[in-house]
Structures are given as C-alpha cells and as structure tokens.
Symmetry: C2
Subunit: 257 residues, 2 copies
C-alpha cells in the first residue's frame, strides 16, 4: 500500500499514534505521543490536533490527550470482539462464580492471543492478562489452545520463531512445544503451569463456531489449582457459548486471523 | 483542520468508513461501505484496501470486510471506556443479580448518552440499548441523569434543540424537561417510564468521580417495576463504583465530553 494516493502514510502514522496508548499510557501530551510514535514533533502535534478535531482523540484543559469515546464506539459497535464477548459473557460469569479467580476469553490475532474479556475476583492471584492485551501463543494456556487448533502455517511460523521465556516453565523449545500442541489436541484442553508466573497455572479450552476454533476460554488459578473439575466447568461453559454462536447469523469461523 | 497537511481528509474519510459499521452492519462489501460512507467507489475501495493493509479492517475470503481486531485493540486498551467499565462491572453484576433485567452504564458524549456496558437477563423485557450504542439525553433515564448534572451549556443546548418522541411518554417539550431535570437533581435519580418503549421503565443514578458526575448507572425494567428498593440497589452500586474510581490514578472528572 506504500504508494497509494488514498493516504496510507496518514493511516500508518495514525496506527503509530494510537499504538502509544495502553493501560500504562492513558493520558499523554502530544510531545509524549510524538516521541513514542517515532514521529517528528511537528508531524505528531498536527496529527494529534486533527485526530482531536475528528473526535478520535480527546484533549483535556491541560493539553493531555487520550483515546476518544468516539473511536472506542466506532471500533466496538460492529466488531467481532463485541459479538464474541457478548456471546461468551454469561458463560464466563458462571465459570467465574465457580472458580472465583480469573476467567478470560482470547482470540488468535497476528500470531498472538488477544484477550477480549477478563473477569477477576478482587482477591484472585497473579495474572498478567489484560482486556485488549496480548500474550505470545506459546506462553499461555489460551495461546496453546489457539495454536493447537490454528492453521498449520501459524504453528509452523511460531515453531520456527523465537520462543521467549516469561516464567520458569514457559515452553521455550520447538520440540517440546510440538509435543505440547499434540497433547492439547488429544486432551481438548491446555494446562500451562508456571508459564508466565511461577505461582499461577492457566487452564483453557477451545470455543468452536461451525467446527472451527474461534476463541479460547480460560482461567488463571493459583499454582496447583488445576483439576478435572475445572476443565469440566470450562468445557460446559464453552459448549454454552458454542450454542449461542450457532444461533448467531455472524459466522466467526469464516474470518482468518 | 480543513487544510492541514497531515491528511485530515483521510481521517475524515476514515471516520466515515468506520461509521458504516454497526451491529446491523458487521460485514460489508467495499461497495456497500463506499455507498454508505458517501464516497466515490474508487476512493472507498482504495481506502478499504489501505485499512485492511494496516489491520484496522479485516477482509474474508469472499471479500467482505469487517472492523479489525487490531482497531478494537488500539481503541480499547488505553480508553476511558475500558477503565470506567472495569471499575463498574463488579457493581453492575450485583445490580443485575438482584434486578435480573437490564443493567447498563452510560456516559455523556456529544450531547448523547453513549452506553459502555449492558448486562441483560436472557428473559428480560424490551430494551433498545446496545453496547457502544447511543440514545438522546432527554429520552432515557441514563440520559436524564447525565443531562441533569452536565455543564449548564449542555442542558441549554439540548433544551433549545429538537426533543424527538421515541415512546408514548418521551419528554418532548423544554418546560417539562427543565422541571424533570430539577427533579432529578433534587431526588438524585431519574425514573423514565414509557420514554422509549411503552412497556419499559428506566431508572438511573449518577456515578461521581472527585465530585463530578462521570457516568450514569441504570436499569431497564418492565413497566411498573420501579421502586425505592431498585433506587437503593443502584445507589449502593454507584457508591461502590465511586470508591473504586477514587482509588484510581486516572481522574475521569477532568475530561469534558
């Protein structure tokens, strides 16, 4: 798209500006934004002004800028993220009422797991996951489920790439990962103890739409909390979500990540 | 911003393209998008291609396009919508467990109420509200709360504008609306029976951050379901959300809509 006349470079800069906002950077000055986006200050300031003008960013009295409600609205109201999350929320609440730790919903996006929803008990243990946050596929139970059932090309790409360690037991070699994925396919669920935090274990199951895995439903528990009962609770919840999805006119399965 | 060199017209077209997506239009062809965005087909197709290239839109095998997970992620992860919704969700779940109809969270945005969250019982009655959907301020209990506590300029603008009727009892004249807003301020909550659907009543209370009203928490009930008990449940929930917000480093109240 490099030389299109429709302004790809503006879109590229827009993405770089938006990418500077996250849970640690909800309010930034235009200078912060320019620096973190790698844009010359004048370019960054002008783009921020235009985005504020269009309502995609908002500016407070002191000149700090944040993501606009209008952008959230436009990005959410027709999105697959909202539809899937709405289909899953009642079942997630039932999981959460039983397990009372962290219950989360993730999808495969760009060779990572992107989390669409997370419910957490106020006194639950450690969990790095955030809504609209990402984790590498090999390093989380949700990611292992998504990778195990992904198109073979995705698995091959991940197996050929870097398998960084995040926790004491992150799978960091291709052979072990390949065997783990086969195990996940055989068992129908993934358990990932100590993969990110030594004190936590993730357990996740696939959610299917028209036969294809479209999401992973998982819990994060204190280490040792994994059990057949937890897997059963997750499977029942996944079946409930699948029933809801099967009644929906939107077919998630036809969209490739 | 009309003549800025940073590509405002691309941003303006981008907004028009994104605005064609909603709950009824989650998947569209580039031709649909161009037509609904009011763009020449060639311009629309090119912009859609660029947005697909940047990951902001996604395209399936049959050429249909939808809002990309990447756009949802960028618009969500640093947004006030997410922070406020996260702060409110546990309290909303408690309201929903008691009232078992519809529980919703709305904010003032552009002289309308924008809904950030909605929890609904599968067998609950009629409710037009959608997540990332909007309603006019004068026509819903959440809107009346937000309007009653908004800056005077907002109320004057709404009072001077069109007050369209949506249901049999929508307030559609400025004098009645002015008296209703005074009542909402005096009581500390809004009840709006038959304002949108003849068979439903909305009840809403304000949520404050550092003294300023930043959101409305409401329920939609079958007509006649409003009661002091419901108002108390909402007030207790709002107080709980306010406690969470007061511990947060993000000060919602400093941002004007």
């Amino acid at each position: 798209m490099a030389n299109s006349r429709s302004g790809d470079s503006v879109i590229e800069r827009l993405v770089r500006v938006l990418a500077t906002f996250d849970a640690e950077h909800t309010e930034q000055t235009p200078s912060d934004i320019s620096r973190r986006a790698g844009l010359p200050a004048s370019t960054g300031h002008r783009l921020v002004s235009d985005l504020v003008g269009a309502g995609l960013l908002e500016r407070d009295d002191e000149g700090r800028v944040r993501v606009g409600m209008r952008l959230w609205e436009l990005a959410t109201r027709g999105s697959l993220a909202l539809g899937l999350r709405q289909a899953a929320l009642p079942a997630m609440e039932r999981v959460q009422a039983t397990v009372r730790q962290h219950t989360q919903l993730g999808v495969l996006d760009g060779d990572q797991v992107l989390f669409l929803e997370r419910l957490s008990h106020p006194e639950a243990g450690a969990n790095i996951t955030r809504i609209a946050g990402r984790l590498p596929l090999h390093a989380s139970s949700s990611g292992l489920v998504l990778l195990a059932f992904a198109a073979p090309a995705v698995a091959e790409r991940v197996l050929a790439g870097r398998l960084d360690r995040f926790g004491p037991e992150t799978i960091d070699d291709a052979g072990t990962l390949r065997r783990k994925l086969a195990e996940v396919r055989r068992l129908g669920h993934a358990v990932a103890p100590g993969s990110i935090e030594a004190v936590s274990t993730g357990v996740a199951v696939p959610i299917r739409d028209r036969g294809a895995v479209v999401a992973a439903l998982g819990v994060v528990l204190p280490r040792g909390g994994e059990s057949d009962a937890v897997v059963r609770v997750l499977r029942d919840a996944a079946a409930e979500v699948e029933k809801t999805l099967s009644r929906s006119s939107t077919i998630l399965a036809t969209f490739e990540s």
